[in-house]
């Protein structure tokens, strides 16, 4: 029964998250591994996130320009693009790219380690593999995705500035001023906060899928694949929840 397995897996992932909070913050602290994972999931995702952010800002500007011009509202493009990127497009697209690159990589890496008994080897080497492998990766994705989103937003907005100047002339100062005049903390803070949850979900699901990967190379592939699929779905669900919460708080 698909419903039963969906419910069962949801319960198992929740239990896995509970284990993260129980074990992840107790000594022995794996700080060196946490920093290494921050480097791996953060620094090494920069090119992909940067390119995506640039294309997102450029395309959004070029596609919205004709419609805005019809209404004589070209001067509102920076405000509209700024709000769109910062509130929604930046976080969600960066999270999806991050899920594709990092979620699958974590799922495949841990799955491969499970299949080749490296996780068992860690345990007999005096190491709690959950803390060393899972807790550090989940913390790293939780901390790095918000930073990557800020970077993607900045690059996307700069690409938007370039897009506007392809068919007109606007100074950077005016462009920035237009964006800032349309933004409030109610736009920026919820969008920033939800990226922590996106990062947590991507790390947790990638680790869960890899850590409990079935034996064999097929299991490794399935772990990588389902890590991306489930994490992407959860990102949209979390986004929906975030919109409802900000609506209830009067921030929409």
């Amino acid at each position: 029964m698909p419903d039963t397995s969906l419910l069962a897996e949801t319960g198992e992932i929740t239990s896995f998250a509970g284990r993260f909070f129980r074990e992840g913050f107790r000594p022995r602290y794996e700080l060196a591994e946490l920093l290494h994972q921050c480097y791996v999931v953060g620094y090494q995702s920069l090119p992909m996130v940067g390119i995506t952010g640039f294309i997102m800002g450029m395309v959004l500007t070029l596609q919205s320009r004709p419609t805005m011009a019809q209404f004589g509202a070209e001067s509102w493009i920076p405000t509209m693009v700024g709000l769109t990127i910062i509130r929604e497009m930046g976080p969600i697209i960066t999270a999806l790219i991050f899920a594709g690159k990092i979620g699958s990589s974590i799922g495949a890496e841990l799955g491969s380690m499970r299949v080749t008994e490296q996780i068992d080897a860690m345990e007999v080497s005096g190491t709690n593999p959950f803390k060393y492998l899972v807790a550090t990766r989940v913390m790293a994705t939780t901390l790095m995705l918000p930073l990557l989103t800020i970077l993607a937003d900045a690059i996307g907005l700069y690409a938007s500035y370039l897009g506007i100047n392809m068919k007109g002339t606007t100074t950077l100062a005016l462009f920035v001023n237009n964006i800032l005049s349309g933004l409030t903390f109610g736009d920026v803070l919820p969008a920033f906060i939800k990226t922590f949850f996106f990062g947590f979900a991507i790390g947790l699901i990638g680790c869960y899928k890899g850590y409990f990967s079935d034996k064999g190379t097929e299991g490794v592939g399935q772990a990588a694949n389902s890590a991306v699929v489930v994490a992407s779905l959860v990102i949209f669900l979390l986004d929906l929840v975030a919109v409802q919460i900000t609506g209830l708080l009067g921030l929409n």
Partner: protein, 261 residues
């Protein structure tokens, strides 16, 4: 129908071993996975300086046995005592201290792909807090690599090594902790006959050089012949027969002959 054990009919293999200190005792251990009863009241004793091979068909529960001994699996019933400590009664910290004295050579070698050979060897040393500075670390790594004849591989990645070399490095990672007991999970599986014999000789060299006790899981009869002081035949989760290689080779029981024919 379960086969009857013929263990009682076998004479003790070596009087010297019987008199030696027992470092590992498996006492009536049972382990099931659902309806699959992998181990049934299995018992075994390992003495200091002795190599015991647990022989059995694939899927007969050999690997489950050593994973119960090292605490990776928990038996449903029975008691396992390692170096005088009841494994089931140990907390995490005590278990880690015990694991520092018990080496485990995994069937798949379980070398960390992302680390160099040197870092692979240092990993258990550092995690067990047994390293005291870079100079001592270097000396221990060099000694362990020298023991397995691969002193020049420290900066290589596991992917750059052959199957036999990876097995040796995995053994070096076990030896670096100077364990009292080594558990070998099918040490020659997947290796060509020449490399497999080299690993067999290495197991003997380690036993003689460091006076380690070893429990070796295998179904490679050449390995059994070369490394075993005593052989325990595992059939349907039970200890079916026990003795030296020669004693079991002379045994006319059909289930024993399946292996020694």
């Amino acid at each position: 129908m379960q086969p009857e054990s013929i263990t009682q009919e076998m004479p003790r293999p070596a009087a010297a071993a019987a008199a030696a200190e027992t470092v590992l005792t498996v006492d009536k251990v049972s382990k099931s996975f659902g309806d699959n009863h992998v181990l049934r009241d299995f018992s075994l004793a390992l003495h200091r300086g002795e190599n015991v091979v647990v022989l059995g068909k694939s899927g007969s529960g050999k690997s489950v046995l050593i994973k119960c001994i090292i605490g990776l699996l928990t038996p449903d019933a029975g008691r396992i005592t390692v170096l005088g400590q009841d494994v089931a009664a140990l907390d995490h910290a005590a278990m880690d201290r015990l694991r520092a004295k018990v080496g485990f050579l995994f069937q798949s070698n379980a070398l960390y792909d992302s680390m160099t050979v040197r870092d692979n060897l240092l990993f258990p040393l550092r995690r067990h807090w047994l390293a005291h500075g870079p100079e001592e670390e270097d000396a221990l790594v060099l000694q362990a690599l020298d023991d397995v004849g691969l002193a020049q591989t420290a900066e290589l990645l596991p992917a750059e090594l052959s199957g036999g070399m990876r097995k040796r490095i995995a053994l070096a990672r076990t030896l670096i902790l100077r364990p009292d007991i080594i558990l070998y999970d099918e040490p020659t599986t997947g290796l060509d006959p020449v490399t497999a014999r080299e690993i067999d000789h290495l197991i003997r060299e380690v036993q003689q050089k460091y006076r380690t006790s070893a429990l070796i899981i295998s179904h490679d009869m050449n390995c059994v012949r070369l490394v075993a002081d005593r052989v325990v035949l595992l059939v349907d989760g039970r200890c079916y027969a026990e003795g030296t290689y020669d004693e079991l080779a002379r045994n006319m029981d059909p289930k024993v002959k399946e292996f020694f024919a």
